[in-house]
Amino acid sequence: MTHPPVTPAGPARVWDEQDDRRALARTWHDPEGFFGWFRATTHQAIGRRYVLTAFIFLLIGGVEAMLMRIQLARPENHFLGPARYNQIFTMHGTTMMFLFAVPVMEGMGIYLVPLMLGTRNVAFPRLNAFGYWIYVMGGIFLYANAFTGAMPDVGWFAYPPLSGPQFSVGKGVDAWAQMITYTEISALCVAVELIVTIFRLRAPGMSLNRIPLYCWSMLIQSFMVVFAMPAVMIASTVMLLNDRTIATHFVNPAEGGDPLLFQHVFWFFGHPEVYIIFLPALGFVSAIVQANSRRQVFGYSAMVLSQVATGFIAFGLWVHHMFATGLPQIGEAYFTAASMMIAVTTGIQIFCWLATLWTGRLRMTAAMHFIFGFLFIFVLGGLTGVMLASIPLDLQSHDTYFVVAHFHYVLIGGALFPLFGAFHHWFPKITGRRIDEGLGKFSFWLLFIGFNVTFFPMHILGLNGMTRRIYTYPASLGWASGNMIATIGAGIIALGGLVFIVNAISSMRRGAGADANPWDAAGLEWSVASPPPPWNFTYQPVVSSRVPLWTDPALRTVVTGMRTDRREVLVTGVTEAEPQFRTVLPGASLWPFLAAAGISIGFAGSIFAFSWYYVAAFLGALGIIGWFWPSPPKDVEP
């Protein structure tokens, strides 16, 4: 197929920017009003909703954590009974992993990636809306079951035989299993649309070696989602739920099934999941370090290749969660080696950031405080990770608080601190107002100190033999002081969270107005107004370096000739990002919401009877047909 030749960097021409902005505003604004809210398809609206919803789940998961800490503060405490305690730790882990950590990272990606790539929306805006709705409905589904008495109580990874039909009666485990499918469908939708957005919709000139590091991390993360999430849908829905509802035998050894297979399939997802949460956080770190060191991140290629390698190696580690199951030693040795190897690829990135900080002109914003907190906490978590990769040590500390300390150091240190840093860094962009830096730093110190006071003693408790998931302990074991310190730390974390929330709300209401680029950063997202208009770029930029806003303004080039009367975006080549053709994105629609609602009704019923899947299929098909039905005038004529 031949294209009319493109004249690169043509001469200056006269255009009416105000006129174009008015036309774009008519074309791109999400509909208003109550029903309009359900029809929104701009990536900004959907991204903001993802992040806000996920933060609500963070709050719920945090309250659950506090309840556990209160229970464990003193020996032989009776604040929560054993059954309730089991439910609370299950809900805490499930909420944090499935309803907070993954969705919040996806939401930030949805918001930031199109802006960083210099395009107007994600490649599939309606799929994006659908993914959000199915996620919200999954969260509501789990908590609706929990509040009506069906609360899962088998841990966030629900091992059979405990979670099987024989030992877990009631609907709690079924609700847990099906909630996974809701949230994984949502994550898969986001992964596909981000991959295609990053591959096909980049600004002209943004060749692969000029993609912002954050977008690389989202690209690799999305690939990992594509290959990891189907495994957990098999584990939770095909294996566990079907065994419970229609008497299949996946985990039933009496009929040839194997409970250990559930662990394999679950952790084939579960280990990559950690990196699915963690890679986007590394992207935040790169962006924030670059902006506040005021130099390009050192070792771009090494950073990208390390992340790609992390993506691959992450799929070869899952058995280190299963060292205590008695697998053949030769296999275990391989997984030890792989688990230690991943420290190398992560270490390379840490050294690249240190080199950047060392040689840059450092500016200690609140966001940078969180990045230094990340470096400190995450390196400690990584060190205990290398320790746990060793089988003899793992066998001793398996299922103890040492492991609890380790994964909170890597997940909170590795993902939550960068996320909070990102929140402070991009707050002006998203809301159009400056966040209070002083309160931000105050909340950082509370969270940082509270975190270490809570979780550091757990290392020692674990080495002293305190096992996970016990609801209480006798005083004679000598665990009382460590637990009391941890509970005090949890209180400090809660205080830090409160300061963070107060700061976010008050800055959103009364913060000083933010201009387009308050940090003088280099990324394309800082070239548009704060908050960005729904079409992002009135004229898409043409990119000539990795740091577009730090290049000579005289050389800046923009794209003209895009139609403003429909939602047009430019499609560019995968490697060189040369302009290829234009394409029209679909507009606002209620159908993604209706399709998600139809499928959700069927899934909710499926924990009672298999035939509800047919309801999900029927209602989902109706929704999707409506979604794709051609609108009366043939809507995409040249």
């Binding site: 009319p4 490649a123 495994a231 009929e255 399939v265 047009e568 053709f581 299929a617 051609p630």
Partner: protein
């Protein structure tokens, strides 16, 4: 900021029906997701099969070979129909799209009918033992995907027959064929696992 240079893209086509379209890429990754799911099922089949001496368990008749092997013929041929439809979509040839999709749909229905006849010959259910569980899970999930894709094809036939199609719907016809190629291709290893698995892989 006032840029001094511009890149005028008004001369570029306003759409493209080819493997460069974003929708084609989206469909590719949706196929990869389903592929990852089916690969996991195949891995589970052999993991569980190798831990059991007698496969299928005593009293269970292994699934017959004749009907499913015969059914491969209409299935593979149906991909030719979707190829014709996608070529027709690229050329905006309404007749070719209708003939291609019609052929795809008709041959796929023959395949499904043969599959349902074959299911009646099974002397086990998913609840019988682990062999039944695996076989029925693979067959159910693949059949579910096949029916979903055929429904999409049938609706596209309706839209094109009604002359309601623009470039967007033609692109739909093109990517519909991508999903169908995937469903045909992925069936081959699944077929080998379900029907040749009990015959080729010996006990431990």
């Amino acid at each position: 900021m006032s840029p001094t240079r511009t890149l005028d893209v008004s001369g570029l086509p306003a759409y493209e029906i080819s493997n460069r379209a974003p929708l084609w890429w989206g469909q590719l990754f949706m196929a990869l997701i389903e592929g990852a799911l089916f690969c996991m099922l195949i891995a589970m089949y052999f993991y569980l099969r190798l831990s059991i001496d007698v496969w299928p368990p005593p009293g269970v008749k292994p699934p017959g070979l004749t009907l499913p092997t015969l059914a491969l013929i209409p299935l593979v041929l149906s991909a030719g129909g979707s190829y014709a439809a996608s070529e027709g979509a690229k050329r905006d040839d309404r007749r070719m799209m209708l003939l291609g999709m019609g052929g795809n749909l008709a041959l796929a229905i023959v395949f499904l009918v043969l599959r349902f006849i074959e299911w009646n010959t099974f002397n086990f259910t998913w609840a019988a033992d682990i062999h039944g569980t695996l076989v029925w899970s693979i067959l159910f999930l693949h059949t579910f995907d096949v029916i979903a894709d055929l429904l999409m094809t049938a609706i596209l036939i309706g839209i094109v027959a009604d002359n309601k199609h623009g470039p967007k719907q033609r692109l739909g016809v093109h990517v519909d064929s991508v999903l169908w190629y995937f469903l045909v291709l992925i069936w081959l290893p699944l077929y080998v696992a379900v029907y040749w698995g009990p015959r080729l892989v010996g006990s431990r």
